[in-house]
């Protein structure tokens, strides 16, 4: 007999062990055991289950062997999700330039309309404007010279620099000869 056949004999003897009878390893525990990360307080139960049930042992060894493929699938799925997300975003982009063209066309139309309006107004004769705004009615009051004329022709003298006013106007005492002496 060899060690291999002894192992086969032992595995055969532990094959009928029911999962429920061994207080089973759940999926989470099986995955941890396959990763070599048995939780200390579960160690005795897990070790007993793996030693006493070839189904458990096969499951954990199978999971260990499957780990690289699962890691690869996880990476591929992540790449696929990222790719799909990029595609979705790219799918919305073509609408943006379309809208840009639309807005551009609207803006160009508005500019053209304004330009047309301005050009049309510039082409009108001045006489028309003069007719619309008669000079007499609202002439420029600042530069028409009437203000200066009114000030120059004012009857009352400047009281601030007046040397001698009337009785009711006080004389300039700052420059008075009497205040000095």
């Amino acid at each position: 007999m060899t060690e291999s056949s002894l192992s086969q004999l032992f595995r055969s003897s532990t094959q009928p062990q029911t999962l429920s009878a061994r207080a089973l390893i759940d999926a989470e525990t099986a995955v941890r055991a396959a990763q070599g990360r048995v939780v200390p307080h579960e160690r005795d139960d897990v070790a007993a289950a793996l030693a006493g049930s070839s189904a458990h042992a096969d499951l954990v060894q199978f999971l260990r062997a499957l780990e690289p493929a699962s890691a690869e699938l996880a990476q591929d799925l992540a790449r696929s999700a990222a790719h799909e997300s990029r595609e979705r975003r790219r799918g919305t982009h073509p609408r943006v330039p379309q809208r840009g063209w639309q807005w551009g066309a609207v803006a160009a139309g508005v500019v053209a309309a304004i330009a047309l309006f301005v050009v049309r107004d510039a082409g009108q004769p001045h006489g028309t404007l003069q007719a619309q705004f008669p000079q007499g009615a609202s002439a420029d009051a600042i530069f028409d010279g009437r203000l200066e004329t009114a000030v120059a022709g004012h009857a009352a003298p400047d009281r601030i620099f007046q040397a001698s006013g009337g009785d009711e106007v006080a004389q300039d005492r700052i420059f008075s000869a009497r205040s000095g002496g």
Partner: protein
């Protein structure tokens, strides 16, 4: 119908199909089919469960441990179903019955001898000190030294010594009870 022509859908289908093929091969290679489960069924079930998870959230990132848990729960469910089936009465010479030796050409006498060997092995194992019995049992279940160390919670070197000395002791005991000699 539009979903079928979706290139993303096709890519996911391809990824899961590739993974399913690897999974199916490993289910068979690790002897899980001996426990009454069908590798094709396990593959299909895992693919369905993963597909549903992906459909729930296409942008979700799946960790390898999550995928492993999906596979583990699928296999455990399949093993439980197989054991429920196994409790149903089977014909005397059914292939699914307990066979200490995998050779199907064994006669009744040889099978009886095989049962005797199993009983002797069990009694010799039980006679081992407890600290050696568990590593030896794990070794006989096919676990590597590092795996035994991880499960038992010791170093690989300590596991190696426990297994080496334990196996020597087990063989001596088996020889003593007349279970035959061992070629190392």
């Amino acid at each position: 119908m539009g979903r079928i022509n979706d290139p993303n859908h096709e890519r996911l289908e391809r990824l899961l199909a590739d993974y399913g093929a690897k999974l199916r091969a490993l289910v068979s290679a690790h002897g899980l089919t001996r426990h009454g489960i069908d590798a094709d069924d396990v593959e299909q079930e895992v693919r369905i469960r993963l597909w549903r998870a992906i459909e729930r959230d296409r942008s979700a990132a799946f960790h390898a441990s999550y995928i492993q848990r999906v596979v583990a729960s699928t296999v455990i469910d399949a093993l439980r179903r197989a054991q429920v089936r196994a409790t149903e009465p089977l014909p005397e010479d059914s292939d699914d019955g307990f066979q200490p030796f995998p050779d199907r050409n064994l006669g009744p006498e040889e099978r009886a001898s095989g049962h005797q060997h199993v009983e002797k092995l069990r009694s010799c194992l039980n006679a081992l000190p407890e600290r050696r019995r568990l590593p030896i049992s794990l070794h006989l279940q096919g676990f590597a030294l590092q795996e035994i160390a991880d499960i038992v919670g010791t170093s690989a070197e300590a596991a190696r010594k426990l297994v080496s000395r334990g196996m020597d002791e087990l063989k001596d005991r088996l020889r003593e009870v007349g279970a035959g000699d061992f070629d190392d």
